[in-house]
């Protein structure tokens, strides 16, 4: 203690301390001033960092435009965009599904931009008014642990999961994941509120385990903690990459089946951005071949644009997709939340 005191006395004279304090305060003020006039492209991404970062880095290298990336949950980031409406901070908003973009669009917070590259994207996966564009897609699939499920027992429809043989062995990510939320809204739209609620109730009775994150789902199924999981198609490939024994089913493909829901990852430009040109450049870039190939091969997404090699991923044409409009899904969100509080 005495030693420490002497150390302090010798090295930390009042003058040194106060000049140091002064410097720090000045740096703080400078920083505040600087960030007011920054010219970085600010991207709010609801997509995981591991998925979006390679694309962003490629963009920076190719165009030289500096990017400030903020990763989080799509709804949370949408909240921030809402909060910041007086002084928008974000230039680009990327979400894991389009419903949240629709919500922002309704609030008038998005800037329309019809990229030339987006012309070939199917209408279901882009905004009618050009307020958001789908970049790539994910399908709602069922994954299963190959060691624990016999060939005959592989479920072909989501409704098979209410069977007793899956009791306590089904995993799903909760509505914190927007893709789950969108899926539930789709169920409500297709089956009607009552039947959808009944179905989910039966699933819950059957011991449906609600996990926070989709990565928990595929890891859980891969490890044998669960036998089947309801999740998005990229997670199947991630599990394969991690050398886990999983298989995948694109459910409800039969002639009377409703098909598998496809959620487009959406990109939108925030209204009031000061970097409009650069934002548009970024959107174009996302829809360009190099970025698309990164997303498909690195993040195992389904390409929405024609002419992109899907690789291992089953392309849009390879399965029956649920036909629904994103606007409808967005509109159902509030109701869905109240109908399914347990998720």
């Amino acid at each position: 203690m005495a030693h420490f005191r002497r150390l302090v006395h010798r090295h930390l004279s009042t003058r040194l301390l106060s000049s140091w304090a002064f410097l720090l305060t000045v740096s703080l003020l400078l920083h505040v001033y600087a960030s007011a006039s920054a010219s970085e492209l600010v991207i709010y991404s609801g997509r995981k960092e591991s998925a979006i970062k390679p694309v962003v880095e490629l963009f920076q290298r190719q165009t030289g435009i500096k990017v400030a990336l903020k990763v989080g949950k799509a709804s949370g980031l949408a909240n921030e965009v809402l909060q910041e409406r007086q002084r928008p901070r974000a230039d680009i908003f990327i979400a894991t599904e389009a419903g949240v973009c629709e919500i922002l669009a309704k609030e008038g917070l998005l800037e329309p931009y019809a990229s030339l590259s987006a012309r070939t994207i199917p209408a279901a996966h882009k905004s009618a008014r050009g307020l958001w564009t789908g970049i790539s897609g994910r399908a709602r699939v069922i994954i299963y642990n190959k060691n624990l499920v016999r060939e005959n027992d592989i479920p072909s429809s989501i409704f098979d999961l209410t069977d007793a043989k899956w009791k306590g062995k089904i995993a799903i990510a909760g509505t914190r994941e927007r893709t789950t939320l969108a899926w539930l809204s789709a169920l409500v739209e297709v089956m009607g509120e009552e039947k959808a609620k009944a179905y989910i109730d039966r699933l819950i009775e059957n011991g449906l385990k609600v996990l926070p994150d989709n990565s928990d789902v595929w890891r859980g199924v891969g490890s044998g903690e669960f036998v089947v999981g309801l999740t998005n198609s990229p997670n199947y490939h991630l599990a394969l990459e991690a050398k886990l024994p999983v298989g995948v089913v694109y459910p409800d493909q039969g002639p009377s089946g409703m098909g598998a829901l496809v959620n487009p990852n959406a990109v939108a430009i925030v209204k009031g951005t000061k970097n409009l040109d650069q934002a548009r450049q970024f959107v174009d870039f996302l829809l360009s071949k190099p970025a698309q190939e990164l997303l498909v091969h690195h993040a195992f997404e389904i390409p929405l644009l024609p002419g992109i090699d899907p690789g291992q991923v089953r392309p849009l044409a390879g399965f029956k997709a649920l036909q629904i409009s994103q606007e409808r899904l967005a509109g159902l969100e509030e109701k869905t939340i109240t109908i399914f509080p347990g998720l």
Binding site: V8, L24, V67, K73, R87, P212, S215, R219
Partner: protein, 545 residues
């Protein structure tokens, strides 16, 4: 009438005070005080206003059964964590101060180290060890078992990890009380014929109750407000629910209501803690230089040593070893360092600025309380204590609400992060300065003035040199706490501005274990050094919040 007489005298006194520099209520001091009060109280006030803006209808969610289970789970977690921390902290405190355990002085110094490991890092390491796909389960499955045998996720896992990384608070506070207690009482009991166990139960333990309570309340408070560890361990508490609400719902009011309830709970605990601390000072007066009785351990020595090292192992060695292993190689660590130097710089810079501003404000508040009469000082101190009562998540939310609405040019810059650190950890700086100042004889300043120095000069030439070590210690405390802070930073950081804890958290969530491990090591190394320095100062034991 008595009252009018009183008022007249007070007015006269006020007039005298105003013009006299002896008591010196200069306008600058009042302005400074008002500014600080505004700064620290406004977020909370704004939060409560927005929570109650919906009227009592907003609180109807209290009737919801899931809300009650949320309260139950949060309180249960905090209670279990506290009990576990007491089990881990109390026996070692007694053993290290009252027995002849070999190497106990070294162990006392090392006992502080778990505080260098933030609970979220601890959670992450124990997930890799005891999670459903962790090592233990993998090994178990390799040797033929089916399904996971141990799962750290959930309430019990949360309590385990939280207690494991907060027991040093109890160890330090109780240990300090044991060191400074009067051995005469125990000797008297010995003379009356009681054995070691009897002495402990009948004499020592009752005397320790106040410090044990203080430490327990500290841990309880910590568990209530923790976010990182509980969210990684999948425990449903208030903080995670607030975070969840912010991230999935577009109406902030639910989050605000939950925050208000949480603030209320923590305020209750905080008041209980203050009351238990109030009558005692932590600057122990040694009554005479007689050391306390030392009990020989005899054949228990090996067992006790084993247990002590086990506890230390579980809270320091094991996590660090795991982190080292996960990082892989030194190259990999360097690579993370180089790739993430920006995050390191962000952490260091924000923590340093926050610590500096906090030290300055802390000194100001301490001076006003200690040297000037009047209620201004007391009001200031109470207001600055608010930082303790507001969990990081809630603080982040309230700052967002406030600054976005009223001071948008600060909102969205790193200044928000610094502000968050400042408000949360200002109490530590105030407490350090107050303790340091209390140990300086006020006559010294008067002597300086009688020798021709103005009050300002007296402060600079006499008081400041004497309290410099205390201020330095306070600076380091705020620095360390800011470096480790996660919950508020997550909410407040602008785009592209991540700190080390944020990187660790993101990496944990995205299951990039190697990255998380490397960054964790960097963080631990940076915070361990000042922590070790401070632990050598006895007087700061009570401030290690």
């Amino acid at each position: 009438m008595v009252s009018s007489n009183v008022r007249r005298v007070e007015l006269r006194q006020l007039a005298t005070l105003w013009r006299s520099q002896a008591v010196g209520l200069q306008p600058a001091a009042i302005a400074g005080a008002a500014l600080i009060i505004l700064l620290t109280a406004s977020p909370l006030v704004n939060l409560l206003t927005s929570a109650f803006a919906g009227g009592l209808k907003a609180f109807s969610i209290l009737m919801n059964s899931s809300m009650l289970s949320l309260i139950a789970e949060t309180m249960l977690l905090a209670t279990l964590a506290t009990l576990w921390a007491m089990v881990l902290g109390l026996p070692p405190a007694w053993i290290l101060t009252r027995t002849d355990l070999p190497g106990r002085r070294v162990l006392q110094a090392v006992g502080v180290l778990p505080l260098a490991i933030p609970p979220y890092i601890g959670a992450f390491t124990y997930i890799t060890l005891l999670g459903p796909v962790g090592w233990v389960n993998t090994v178990y499955q390799t040797i033929g078992g089916s399904g996971p045998i141990v799962n750290i996720y959930g309430l019990w896992g949360g309590a385990l990890v939280l207690g494991l990384f907060t027991y040093p608070y109890i160890l330090l506070i109780v240990g300090s009380a044991l060191k400074g207690s009067d051995p005469a009482l125990e000797e008297a009991a010995r003379a009356a014929g009681l054995g070691p166990v009897g002495i402990f139960l009948r004499v020592t333990f009752p005397l320790l109750r106040p410090s044990l309570l203080a430490g327990a309340l500290l841990v309880f408070l910590y568990a209530l407000s923790d976010f990182g560890a509980v969210s990684l361990l999948r425990v449903n508490t208030f903080t995670t629910e607030i975070f969840h609400q912010l991230n999935t719902r577009f109406d902030q009011r639910n989050a605000a209501v939950l925050s208000a309830i949480l603030v209320f709970l923590t305020a209750v605990v905080l008041m209980a803690q203050r009351k238990s601390l109030g009558r005692r000072s932590f600057v122990q007066q040694r009554s005479g230089s007689r050391p306390a009785t030392i009990y020989p351990l005899g054949r228990w020595k090996a067992l006790v040593l084993c247990c002590t090292y086990l506890i230390l192992g579980g809270s320091v060695f094991l996590p660090v070893a795991l982190l080292l292993y996960q990082t892989g190689s030194l190259m990999s660590l360097l690579h993370t360092l180089i790739a993430g130097y920006r995050y390191l710089w962000n952490s260091l810079w924000t923590a340093a600025v926050a610590a500096t501003v906090a030290s300055g404000l802390g000194l100001f508040v301490a001076y006003l309380t200690q040297r000037r009469k009047g209620s201004a000082g007391l009001l200031l101190t109470s207001v600055t204590q608010l930082g303790y009562a507001i969990p990081g998540t809630v603080l982040g939310l309230s700052l967002i609400l406030l600054y976005n609405a009223y001071l948008p040019w600060i909102y969205g810059t790193a200044a928000m992060v610094i502000l968050g650190y400042l408000l949360r950890f200002l109490p530590q700086a105030v407490q350090s300065s107050t303790t340091a100042l209390a140990q300086v004889n006020p006559n010294l300043e008067e002597a300086a003035r009688s020798l021709g120095r103005s009050p300002w000069q007296a402060l600079r030439e006499v008081t400041v040199p004497l309290i410099r070590p205390g201020i330095a210690a306070g600076w380091m405390l705020v620095f360390i706490s800011s470096m480790k802070e996660l919950a508020a930073t997550l909410l407040l950081r602008p785009a592209g501005f991540d700190t080390l804890p944020v990187r660790i958290w993101i990496a944990s969530i995205e299951v990039d274990y190697a990255g998380a491990a490397a960054t964790s090591l960097i963080l631990i190394v940076i915070t361990a050094l000042p922590l070790f320095l401070i632990s050598r100062l006895d007087a700061t034991v009570s401030q290690l919040n």
